[in-house]
């Protein structure tokens, strides 16, 4: 994964997580039906999605680095 794509995914994940955190904070200050329901549904989905994107980027970056190291070892041999 190119550094530009990595950055784009991580900015998206950060924005999702900020949205989730805002929803979770909203239900704290206005504990009525809709804020609580939205925080516990949409907030959870956004938060989980952001973490999933981070894990995906982390794994893709790790595998990319491993592949790069393998290629450089072959070139040296």
């Amino acid at each position: 994964m190119s550094p530009v794509r990595v950055r784009r995914w991580l900015v998206l994940a950060s924005a999702c997580a900020l949205g989730a955190l805002a929803l979770m904070a909203w239900q704290l200050f206005d504990p009525t039906v809709w804020p609580v329901m939205v925080a516990m549904s949409l907030g959870q989905v956004l938060g989980t999605a952001s973490l999933a994107v981070f894990v995906y980027v982390f794994v893709a970056d790790f595998r990319g680095r491993q592949r790069g190291e393998g290629d450089s070892n072959k070139t040296t041999e």
């Binding site: 955190l21 704290l28 009525t32 329901m37």
Partner: protein, 216 residues
């Protein structure tokens, strides 16, 4: 700010603030993905949001027990107002004035009993949200008063008996209680009925009233 008096609320706010600071810093500065950046992002996207979600969920579940929460759907506004009214003589209001119920009197009287009581109550609450969204969202209060009723009125006695045990000698001293013991236990005679302790809410339709095609 009273909302931050709970330790869970403080944990949620602290986690949310720390996470937001890390994420905003990442969006603004966009550093290269080195080890330190990954570690900070793990905190900002993983550890702190999970902490905020966990404490927020517990806080949210606690909020669903409060009377303000139940009253935030407009069709329950009259019930909430009656419970808040310290001069009202309704069963709901009298229980709201009891320190053991207080602000959670709706939940205390309407929650299911038993091992899975909380889960069943929350599932029932989701059903209420669904019905509100699909049927009652635009229903005027005057119409709601005529149509909203309990799904299973016979079960309400069980909740009364959680505190008012039918084996308590004081309770059994009342001749009417003793005479109707079995009917009360199986819910055939409602504790909260006009012939006994009066309706729980002044606007409540008793179980004997025709349903008029309405859903609970």
């Amino acid at each position: 700010m009273t909302v931050l008096s709970s330790p869970l609320a403080l944990i949620e706010v602290a986690c949310a603030v720390l996470s937001a600071a890390i994420l905003i810093a990442y969006i603004v500065f966009r550093p290269p993905l080195v080890h330190a950046t990954k570690l900070w992002l793990l905190l900002g996207l993983g550890v702190f949001p999970i902490g905020a979600a966990f404490s927020g969920n517990v806080q949210g579940f606690e909020a669903t027990k409060k009377r303000e929460f139940c009253g935030s759907c407009h069709v329950m506004a009259l019930h909430e107002a009656d419970s808040d009214d310290r001069t009202s003589g309704s069963l709901a209001s009298r229980h709201a004035r009891n320190a053991m119920f207080g602000g959670e009197n709706c939940y205390a009287c309407h929650a299911n009993y038993g091992m899975f009581g909380t889960v069943l109550t929350k599932a029932g609450g989701m059903r209420h949200v669904w019905l509100y969204l699909t049927e009652y969202r635009k229903t005027p209060i005057e119409e709601a008063k005529k149509t909203i009723r309990l799904q299973d009125p016979a079960e309400m006695n069980d909740n009364c008996m959680l505190c008012h045990s039918t084996q308590d000698p004081l309770w059994l001293k009342v001749p009417d209680h003793r005479a109707l013991l079995e009917e009360e236990r199986i819910g055939r005679v409602g504790c909260a009925s006009e012939g006994c302790h009066g309706l729980a809410h002044p606007f409540f339709r008793g179980p004997d009233t025709p349903a008029a095609g309405a859903k609970p």
